[in-house]
């Protein structure tokens, strides 16, 4: 699908402020509401916009600890990735799974209520994941900036 300037303007606004109403979004992008909704529908059908997801603030639910766990896997086993990922999906406290080309093979974003809870998850659910060669943990201190905006 080819995007024109109007599509890009709408996307830029929507990504910057995903909570805008359809009317406010159209106004900011300088188009009528009918045009905006037609353009957005077209981008949804083409798969450019995959969906809009609610963001859950886990801290408000008592999950105070966030850790980025970086894994190197034992790649002598050809099934290492598949089996590791399948097992990681079964851990409820894992909120994101990424695979990489680089020093790190897989990253898991793990949330926990407190350090005691984290230690329990780490011992019982993380260290028991298959085919781990190395683990590094980055403990999150603060989210300085999180934005979906793109240089469109």
């Amino acid at each position: 699908m080819r995007l024109d300037d109007t599509d890009r303007r709408l996307l830029r606004r929507l990504l910057a402020e995903p909570n805008l109403t359809a009317g406010a979004l159209a106004e900011l992008a300088g188009v009528t509401q009918a045009t905006a909704s037609r353009r957005l529908d077209r981008m949804r059908r083409a798969g450019v916009i995959r969906g809009q997801r609610a963001v859950i603030d886990w801290a408000r639910l008592g999950y105070e600890v966030e850790v980025s766990l970086r894994f190197t896997l034992d790649k002598t086993n050809p099934r290492a990735f598949d089996e590791f990922l399948a097992a990681a999906r079964d851990v409820p406290e894992v909120t994101e799974i990424q695979t990489f080309l680089g020093k790190v093979d897989v990253r898991l974003h793990v949330i926990a209520r407190d350090m005691g809870h984290y230690q329990q998850i780490y011992r019982d659910r993380i260290l028991t994941l298959p085919h781990i060669a190395e683990i590094e943990a980055l403990m999150q201190v603060a989210a300085i900036s999180e934005r979906e905006a793109l240089p469109l």
């Binding site: 603030d57 999906r89 909120t95 990424q98 020093k103 980055l138 300085i144 999180e146 793109l150 240089p151």
Partner: protein, 151 residues
Amino acid sequence: MTTLDDTDRAFLRALADDGTLSAGDLGRRFGLSQPAAWRRVKRLQEAGILAGRRVDIDLEALGFGVTVFLGVKLAAKGRVSLEDFERAVTAIPEVQLVHHVLGLYDYRLRIVARDLSDFERILRRRIMTLPGVGEVEANVLLSEERRPGPI
């Protein structure tokens, strides 16, 4: 801290998948009246648990073929101000996420680029010139999935 019942959890799961669902949609799906569903959504919003929406887009279709996660260490701790680094790094348009972390690195960044040579340009001109920047490790994203989490 708010405690959730099973219906709250079902609402959160449904909205995490499709944030555009109305109170009417949720009510029909989980057997509640529209006003009752609306009150629940409102309560979850007021408690800050439902913290807005995120647009899920196909980055590649928009011409961003490369996403890179960077680990950044500051070179001279104590001598550079974290605020200076944070201000400069958040001003880079291609930087989508900045997390201050403890461990092997001081910051974790998520960067989008058109392709690898565009990433190289961002890395050289924007990242390596940040105040206080030291060692940098780059990992190119191959796949990503977001999980529903413990609800």
